[in-house]
Amino acid sequence: MSRKFLETEGPAWVADGLISEEQRLKLLARYPPEASAGGLLPVLGSVLVGLSGLSLVAANWQALPEALRLALLLGSLLAAYAAGAYFLRRGNPDLGHGLIGLGLLLFGASIVLTSQLYQLVGYDASGLLAWVVAGVALSYVYGSRLLVLLTVLIGAAVQTYCVEALGSFSYATGVLVAAGLGYYWWRRPDVVGSTVLAAGLLWQAGLLIIVLHAKITWFFVPAMAVYAAGDWQANRAGGRALQGPPLAAAYLFMFGLATFGETDTYANVLRPPLLSYLAALGAVLAVSVTGKRMRGRLASLPDWLLLLPGFYLPGGLPLAVATLVVLYAHAGSVLARADRDQDAEQLTVGAVLFVAATAVAYFKLTWAFLDKSLFFLLGGSLLLGLSWYLRRRNARRMGDSVVSTAEEQPSRR
């Protein structure tokens, strides 16, 4: 409960006779004021501090003698780690972990700057691999969400450098992040960490597809492998959070197909060999379904509707109809599931997906021949009407459930 909320509303409650003055003071005492920064603030803070130190020193870097440069790098590294350990001992975990994160960033900077000092340009990313290893090791030791986030970012950065500057994919980096941080996620799934890990893994998968010059739809095989891992996670929230980025990617792709579906023009980048693609995706589907069945989550199976490979259809009417059917079916499944679970958030998501599908259908149907002002008028009123209807329906459903639980209360007592 937010203390500020208590402070502002407390006197009103006392005045209305909801609580006594003594109870108000007890409540206030229970929630002492403390600044709670979200887990992402220390990440941003340490990244920015690391960058500022880097740019300051880099501006005057070439003027310094060799030994002094090394001493500066190693000295700041040791200082950051020492300070981090000190604050952790003192009982400031946020600051301590932030400083250890800074030390990790300084390690990476040291590797890069020392290589430049001796004009060493890497033949592969093996020099920077130590950075990823250090990140994974520190995450294991401290179990800090900040360090996990930093390591995912470092892995993504090293992989990007490897692909951009050296033109090859570092499988070692990919395996380290996936296996090292994956194991960590398996044991300690938290929502933010899961989402960031999934996004980082998807980024590296995208880089792999680029390097292999594979058709871009192959991206969904590793992406849905990440999704399938979420199905096996015992912790439901953590598993669902890991599945967020792959589902978002699949949805955006299906949406793009529906809106711009000219697959024949893009056939050479979109259509991998049918059998191998279906076989690979089918294998991942099997893993996912097995996990869902084991954890009793078969209700979320319609998520896979978004992976139907509509891009094999010829462009034009068949593709438009197929993708719209999929979008509607998926939105309907989300709504049905939210209805059954009485989950207000899922109801909103389902409503938004439904409205989006209708918007695409309307766009495709009328853009070509309807007068533009009439198009926008009809479209706007359709969307408004639809959202009003869905909201009313949701409110009535939630109201029914509240009434039914309220009726149950007296009988339970």
């Binding site: 060493l120 030791v141 179990g143 033109g167």
Partner: protein
């Protein structure tokens, strides 16, 4: 047998583990420095010529981009059975020329045996042209020290350079230094 994560995050083990990890990191950085020093100290030194360099590069970063005379070699020098492919790792056999700069005498797919006076430099194929091969050696960046004369050049003057490269016995190569070659031809009129 306790699992990996529990073992690592055991509270009493944190401080010694942190010390171990930090020591490992410091040693690693020193190792990179040592490798750099050793490559220059124990390596075979050769001199390569580059195409004229544009000092403007320094305005955008701390390094200049170098393009070597051996960055493009005639296709006749290819000495393997299979045709060359892009991004393929190759070994370039270099021999010293009359003015002590090295030129390519052969490009191999596997490490060749170097005769006396010759050295092998690792490279990658960037492009395969009809009659030539484009090569990259990861020596194309030179981080210019503050005291170098290159920094004092006025913009617009372009010089070819003589680059001293050191190739360690274990194959790592680095730029050991750069000598400026003053332009012998008059500046082209604009």
């Amino acid at each position: 047998m306790p699992d990996l994560l529990t073992w690592f995050s055991e509270p009493t083990r944190r401080r010694p583990l942190l010390r171990l990890l930090v020591a490992a990191q410091v040693l690693y950085v020193l190792g990179v420095a040592g490798a750099g020093y050793a490559t220059a100290a124990f390596g075979a030194h050769i001199v390569l010529t580059t195409a004229p360099v544009d000092p403007h590069d320094l305005l955008y970063g701390d390094f200049v981009r170098l393009r070597y005379s051996i960055s493009e070699v005639p296709l006749e020098l290819w000495r393997a059975a299979a045709p060359p492919r892009r991004r393929q790792g190759v070994f370039v056999l270099l021999a010293p020329g009359p003015d002590s700069t090295s030129t390519a005498v052969g490009v191999y797919a596997a490490a060749p045996r170097a005769a006396a006076g010759q050295v092998v430099l690792r490279g990658w194929v960037t492009e395969v042209y009809r009659h030539a091969l484009g090569l990259r050696f990861n020596l194309e960046r030179y981080y210019v020290p503050a005291s170098s004369a290159l920094r004092l050049e006025k913009a617009g003057r372009q010089h070819p350079l003589r680059v001293r490269v050191s190739i360690a016995p274990w194959g790592q190569a680095r730029i050991a230094g750069v000598e400026e070659e003053l332009a012998k031809t008059p500046e082209p009129s604009r």
